[in-house]
Amino acid sequence: MRAPRWPVWLLLLLALAAELLPLPVAMQPLRPAWTTMVVIYWALMWPGRFGVFSAFLVGLCVDVAHGSLLGQHALSLSLLAYLVVRLHLQLRVFPLWQLTLSVFALMFIEAFVLLWIDGATGRAEFGPGRWGPVVAAALLWPALMAAMDRVRERLERRDSSFA
């Protein structure tokens, strides 16, 4: 019996909601990029079930929710998922601090793709709102990983396809 897929998407929906939650103006640049983190997590842990196509769909939802150019986050997140799926075997054996650094680097690349697209459409902007979410997400990664590991292990215990 395979574990159901809906918890994966439920967590992604929660992450998306967390990104839209109202915050005071001063704290907005420090809002972690929740969706990006969760996408990295699932691509890292379940690359067979959550890959480039899924990340693309998530990206479309983010685009609609943020009101950004349709396809912008879809492109950056599918690139991110591609990189993570390619590298998942190496990333997984890293100790936590190294993994956190790698996640930071990956998210930086993702943010750079977004900046690139913004620049091409004439909206380039180097505010704290651009890099703040990346830094905040990297700082929160160990905590998020610990929480998500619990969910994942519970799902895997019910799933016969995980030996």
């Binding site: 109202p22 809002r31 067979g48 480039v52 990206g59 349709l70 396809g71 492109l75 799926v85 997984r92």
Partner: protein, 363 residues
């Protein structure tokens, strides 16, 4: 077959169909095509409207805690608090009404003067209240979601104001909701004029909720800190005369041909809950009362009466000292109305319109 050595949980099944590289190639091409279409604004407007409408339930859900908090605060408020608030509002309403009386007289007077000067009369605009959902969008852009959409008559390009000034305009109508852009968004510009001397220019958003920039004024422009900026009405999106902001700093030290001018938005952009959708009145932009051109001092009745009739039906009766303004308004109107032949008048109106259009172009 897969390019990867299989691990415990990515056994076989995952890479049966396509390698991640091929998948990425597919999604990247699709994403690029979508971006191109969306940026050019072709084909996708309707799709985006539907997708936005599909996202509305999530936005409502996110908004619900703060909406619920507001409901709780309203319903569990102490009687004494409510009474105090009620009293405060009532006294405020009274003073507002007193202001309005003066306003009605001034408006009529203004209409007469405008008639004398042979220029258009301004018609008051109709407004509808919309709520802003407590949802944060892209941190780099200043967009908000309103709970009124095309079904309530909102349309793309419609201006938004709050009690203090201009807020922004609607960018996308999604049926039950609408997406709007604030005047401080880097993509937004609003045509303005300086109240003190009528100097016209454009205020551009900066991405900072507290700051607008006026980049198009040359060094010899007459502008200084403290000047009030209002919408000029050029471009037709924003109705004229609504406050946009005040100039905070004028910097000519850069040696550039243009001044660096910063202004502070009049509206409370970081604490918005409700905004007003402004409906431009039919004809206010094109053909308001133009009759008086050939005559000396005859404000036509039509232009003088509509404003008080619409605005102050409740004001006239309850307050005893309201007697003078309405009479002052109505009295002079019929005094010197000449009775020209209707056909000729119509022709004159047409001519006047043409002349005015030419004048506007020259301006």
């Amino acid at each position: 077959m897969s390019p990867f050595p299989s691990s415990a949980d990515s056994e076989g099944r995952a890479y049966r169909n396509a390698s991640p590289g091929l998948r990425f190639f597919l999604t990247a091409s699709l994403a690029l095509a979508l971006m191109f279409l969306d940026h050019r604004g072709i084909y996708l407007a309707q799709v985006r409207a539907y997708l936005g409408a599909a996202m509305y339930p999530l936005q409502i859900a996110i908004d619900s805690p703060s909406a619920g908090l507001g409901w709780v605060r309203e319903n569990l408020a102490l009687r004494a608090t409510l009474q105090a608030e009620n009293a405060a509002l009532r006294s405020q309403a009274l003073s507002n009404r007193a202001e309005l009386q003066r306003m009605a007289a001034l408006q009529a007077e203004n209409a007469r003067f405008r008639a004398l000067l042979d220029s258009k009369t301004r018609v008051p605009n109709r407004v509808v209240v919309a709520e802003i959902l407590a949802v944060d969008m892209d941190p780099l852009r200043h967009r908000v979601i309103l709970n009124k959409g095309g079904r309530e008559g909102a349309s793309e390009g419609q201006a938004l104001i709050d009690a203090l000034g201009v807020v922004g305009q609607i960018t996308r109508d999604q049926g039950d909701s609408a997406e709007a852009i604030l005047i401080t968004d880097p993509d937004h510009a609003v045509p303005i004029e300086v109240v003190r001397n009528g100097l016209r220019t454009i205020a551009v958003g900066t991405g900072d909720l507290e700051r607008l920039s006026l980049p198009f004024l040359t060094r010899n422009a007459d502008i200084k800190a403290g000047d009030l900026l209002v919408t000029s009405g050029l471009g037709g999106t924003f109705p004229p005369g609504y406050p946009v902001g005040t100039v905070t700093a004028v910097d000519g030290s850069s040696g550039d041909a243009f001044l660096e001018i910063a202004a502070r938005p009049a509206a409370n952009l970081d604490r918005l809950h409700e905004v007003l959708l402004v409906f431009l009145q039919e004809g206010s932009a094109a053909t308001p009362g133009l009759e008086p051109a050939p005559v000396l001092a005859s404000p036509p009745v039509e232009t003088a009466t509509p404003s008080p009739a619409i605005e102050t039906p409740t004001v006239v009766n309850p307050t005893p000292n309201a007697d003078t303004p309405p009479e002052a308004m109505v009295e002079p109107a019929p005094v010197t109305v000449p009775e020209p032949q209707e056909a000729q008048e119509a022709q004159e109106v047409q001519e006047v319109q043409e002349v005015q259009e030419v004048q506007e172009v020259q301006e």
